[in-house]
């Protein structure tokens, strides 16, 4: 029997005390090597849920356990690909330097070691970006940047990879490359992919968690193009929120 690595129980979250909940009574669990899709309408609370799983936001009530501990307590077991990386394109930073950042947090002081460079190289090979290692990060296309950021996330040998809307801003060709790479990675780790496009995740996932303030589990055979909109907009209650302001 597979071991649960993420356990969420009756989670409630509001951005301001006394305001409406963005998430309400959300419960689910994810086991090792699961490939899970998190779907839902825009504003339904998907990214908020991800930030809680990462330990960037604290829930008002309910319990969230990652490897049996509070979120944020095992930073090297969990890797994250953000929806979009806002960065200054004029920073002269190479692909290798970006990937090496994945090794951060192992030591209190000092520069990257030879082992860090080896780990970064392995991650770049895995994500097929080694040929760009000396290129400026800002000179890459959206799809290439995304693979570099996944390589950065992989350098610490995580057990969970969370991707927030990975299909946003990339073309179909890069989407296919990404899905193929994720399929291979799934043998080593659990993958949680947030998307508002069911078609994008449907071919790979074991099941989807529909987040629309509350949560419902659906299996791929239950969802088709006709009922998808009904499923994600069921009991839809949008609560205005801003992900940046209240991150702790």
């Amino acid at each position: 029997m597979k071991k649960n690595i993420i356990e969420v129980d009756k989670l409630n979250f509001a951005y301001e005390r006394g305001h409406m909940n963005v998430l309400e009574q959300v419960s689910f669990s994810i086991s090792e090597n699961d490939f899970v899709g998190i779907i839902g309408p825009n504003g339904g609370g998907k990214t908020t849920l991800v930030k809680i799983l990462l330990g960037l936001l604290s829930p008002q009530s309910g319990s969230v356990k990652i490897f049996g501990a509070m979120p944020g307590k095992n930073p090297h077991k969990i890797a994250y690909l953000p929806q979009q990386l806002v960065f200054d394109p004029q920073i002269p930073i190479t692909v290798e330097e970006v990937v090496l950042m994945g090794c951060l947090g192992h030591r209190f002081i000092g520069l990257y070691t030879k082992k860090d460079h080896e780990n970064a190289k392995k991650a770049m090979i895995k994500m097929n970006v080694l040929e760009y290692q000396n290129a400026f990060f800002s000179s890459l296309s959206g799809g290439q940047k995304q693979r570099v950021l996944i390589a950065r996330a992989l350098t610490c040998h995580p057990k969970i990879l969370i991707l927030d809307e990975p299909s946003a801003g990339i073309d179909t060709h890069h989407e296919q490359i990404l899905l193929e790479l994720l399929k291979n990675l799934n043998a080593e780790m659990s993958i949680v992919m947030v998307s508002h496009e069911y078609q994008f995740v449907s071919s790979l996932v074991d099941y989807v968690i529909c987040i629309n303030k509350d949560s419902h589990i659906h299996y791929p055979h239950e969802i088709n193009e006709k009922n998808f909109q009904d499923i994600i907009s069921k009991k839809y209650q949008y609560v205005a929120h801003d992900h940046e302001v209240k991150s702790k």
Binding site: Y80, M101, L104
Partner: protein
């Protein structure tokens, strides 16, 4: 210009040797911290810190002369005020989510006003012009030692936490997810910038510090392949502009701070036009 290089070694003109040595040592910190000021886009924070320093200088003079607090020299006052203002800006923006530009505007003016009032109440005449516009040719042995000590402090800390500083400049959220205390490292970075600003007072003066912390690194960012090379280029450009500015100002008998700034600004404009891609 050649006369300048001859006179550096003239035993009757030791001020020139000290000015040159201060320029050389200070360039190490300017290039290093300037790189972080540019990539973190905190040049106006550095500007606010530099203007607050006049308050520290005034406080040092006032306490030293009026209340005989002997350890409180204008230089100690400047360092204390620089660190306090850096922490204030950091804490207000992190914990109170206050608008950075408003806070910078308030501190900028507050420091200047405090400094002018305290200098006014200090007996004897003090010309604030040397603090505002620099007086590198007035420096002595003690100033040189101060710059070397501050240099060691800034460079050692930067080497130890280099990767963390780069990560909070590039992607703060990712750094936080890796378990790094991003607030602590942001405040530490501001403190190091503040210390560097204190070193710059003698070289270019309070009013032009922002330029010296941004222009050499701005030029370096245009031609660099990565952050480490940006720091090295920034140091070389700082060194070149300070020494060239000193020698030109010595030759034409002009104030050295403004000459250094004009020279580095001109190189910056040429570098941007020559190397940055033009957007049509």
């Amino acid at each position: 210009m050649i006369q300048y290089f001859v006179d550096i070694f003239n035993p009757d003109m030791t001020f020139l040797m000290y000015a040159t040595l201060i320029g050389i040592f200070a360039s190490l910190a300017f290039g290093t911290m300037g790189t972080f000021v540019v990539i973190k886009r905190v040049s106006f924070i550095a500007g606010a810190i530099s203007h607050c320093i006049l308050g520290g200088i005034g406080l040092g003079m006032y306490l030293n002369q009026v209340h005989q607090v002997t350890w409180m020299t204008p230089q100690i006052g400047a360092i204390l005020m620089a660190v306090v203002s850096a922490l204030l800006i950091g804490i207000f923006t992190i914990y109170y989510k206050e608008r950075e530009d408003t806070l910078i505007g308030a501190l900028w003016a507050f420091g200047m006003a405090l400094g002018l009032i305290l200098i006014y109440y200090t007996p004897g005449y003090t010309d604030p012009m040397s603090y505002l516009f620099g007086s590198i040719l007035m420096v002595g042995y003690e100033d040189l030692i101060t710059v070397v000590v501050l240099d060691v402090l800034v460079l050692t800390t930067t080497i130890l936490f280099f990767n963390k500083f780069v990560s909070i400049c590039f992607d703060e959220e990712f750094a936080r997810l890796r378990g790094i205390n991003t607030r602590f490292y942001y405040l530490l970075l501001l403190i190091l910038i503040a210390i560097t600003v204190v070193m710059l007072i003698n070289v270019v003066g309070i009013v032009m510090i922002v330029a010296m912390l941004t222009i050499p690194s701005g030029i370096a960012s245009v031609i660099s392949k990565n952050i480490k090379s940006m720091i090295i280029y920034s140091i070389i450009i700082s060194l070149f502009t300070i020494i060239a500015g000193l020698s030109i100002s010595y030759q034409i008998n002009a104030p050295s701070g403004p000459v250094i700034i004009i020279l580095s600004s001109m190189i910056y404009f040429i570098a941007v036009i020559s190397f940055r891609k033009k957007i049509l």
